[in-house]
Symmetry: C2
Amino acid sequence: MATIKDVAARAGVAPSTVSYVLSGSRKISEDTRHAVQAAIEELGYHPRASARTLRSARTRVLALAAPRVPGAYRAIDGRFAIDVTDAARGHGYDVLLMTDSDGVGGLRRVARSRLADAAVLMAVEDRDPRVEVLHELGFPAALLGHDDHAALPWTDLDWEAAVALAVRESVAAGHRRMLFLSSAEHEVAARRGYALHGLDGARRAAAETGADVRVVPSHRDPDILARRLNEALTARPVPTALIVQHLILLPRLLDTVAAAGLRVPHHLTVVLVGSLPDELGTRHLPRIDLPVAEMSTAVARLAIDAIGSGRDDGPPSSQEPAGAGASTRPSDAPHHLIQPQMAGPVIAPPPGRP
Amino acid sequence: MATIKDVAARAGVAPSTVSYVLSGSRKISEDTRHAVQAAIEELGYHPRASARTLRSARTRVLALAAPRVPGAYRAIDGRFAIDVTDAARGHGYDVLLMTDSDGVGGLRRVARSRLADAAVLMAVEDRDPRVEVLHELGFPAALLGHDDHAALPWTDLDWEAAVALAVRESVAAGHRRMLFLSSAEHEVAARRGYALHGLDGARRAAAETGADVRVVPSHRDPDILARRLNEALTARPVPTALIVQHLILLPRLLDTVAAAGLRVPHHLTVVLVGSLPDELGTRHLPRIDLPVAEMSTAVARLAIDAIGSGRDDGPPSSQEPAGAGASTRPSDAPHHLIQPQMAGPVIAPPPGRP
DNA sequence: CTGTTAGCGCGTTCAG
DNA sequence: CTGAACGCGCTAACAG
């Protein structure tokens, strides 16, 4: 394999000249540059990433920590992985994919061996051990999702605004009684940001509009979910709209609705919050899509921007003055909160109303 | 950040001694080893990956090339990405995720800059340009899926055997007339291996069992699919079983079946081929799951085994004698063909039969 | 200005 | 167990 020396020899110049041609960080005469470029072509030369990294202390790689909830693969994670990778490439970064099969071990190893310059954490939980590790190592990172506590840059859909918007739009369409199928109980128990904020949004919008919004806590067990939903659908006064944040079991949920003899949207309007863009099977429903592309772009940028803040020394002292970049106070961390947008068909009016 | 020299200084030994302690490739006295290990602990030392790579010419990274069919994200790809990553970790390798947003450019860049030691290609197509590039660069690789042409190691479900098994099992349950919903037309046109092999399996099993197996070519457009399926379901004599290889539109497909007034499995037995393991919504159907875990394990091992074969020189000459490792003749490439297994409930008998 | 020389980054490994 | 060369590219300092 060709090295910079081979190129230099072939072009009849010094290796440093080749390097300057590559980086463009210095003026090189027309003739020399052409000779060098010809040599590069002919030898098919490409600089070794490892040599560059060793010298520059920059890998131009982002570590992407995918959550791997045992047994519960979430399609969304794959989608984010692809989109974050594309976004990172837009900044000249590659992406190293990591699972939790090793707990936080993998992340620690990658950070300490300097395989990556920064990390992107997916599906962050309250008091996420990965956050602790990165903080302890002073490793730059950004989060997909947020939990109001981590002192790291983050991006997220404004879940409170999203659910509130779904409620308000339903009210605007004429609905007065509706169900909100929130996140699953174990997600609330884990204090996932989206779960808590979604509940807040429902409550806030209910108060603001005066609508009757009944919260049905979802459950990961489809049978329990079906039972709860069934009860809520038949309780009087009968609800005319169903706002759904817990989407993993959507097919089953629609079956339950159908089994209750309710046609959508004639008898019951179903509005989704946090659906995947372009997903088959949600196209015909009014919804607020999860802004996967925008979140991915934002998180890549936040992670890359964080490089150069966290790299100085060891773990930041607790007395550290709040300067530029990633600080210790959550409220100061850079972030990108995305406002919800309605998509899909217009919300249908309740039965018996024009 | 601590380096090997810092550790050496603290332990009062030479850097090379520290290196030998780390690698274990040489005998080091008890005392010295402990001193070194203590110094490592105290300094929190971890070797730089880039320095190791520069020296050893091994990154211990696999490039995973995810297909990104524009607009058509496939959940399965995310699943494979996770599982391949886990499998690679089992061999001490990390995974760099790549999209084709850049065409083959990304793969070429990663190969030439030696960011990875080998590549794993997902969703390989006939005459896949990525395969050409890797072959041209002499870069080790292994494929998820195969097309009978690429001279690279591969793993795949035996799709022919899988569809044949589904047919035979249906016949064993008493069905004599069945539909086979094959892959979508554009997949057949692209000569995707799974699409062609699936069709072969259906034909072979039909011939062997004498059953009436009607092939319904699927289509990516849900409406066209629904129309075709509807026609086939109502054509006389009425089929009693439906074998489905094209699963992306399964929910829509089941809707169509229901809309035709057919209850599953009472009026019509539905058997899936190539379903995702543990996926909600397929649990209640007899099926042959795609062996994602086994394929991932196999492809990681094949890719890693290929390292050391392709690394010698430039593009292999066409006259190269077929030796060990990756050879030029497709039939010689190492591979791992996985036999199908039925999962889920037993196939129900046709109506009117016990 | 344009090109060259030399040292560095960090861990590995062979000869001593 | 140590010394020193080495892998490869970057870049500050120097020479023409």
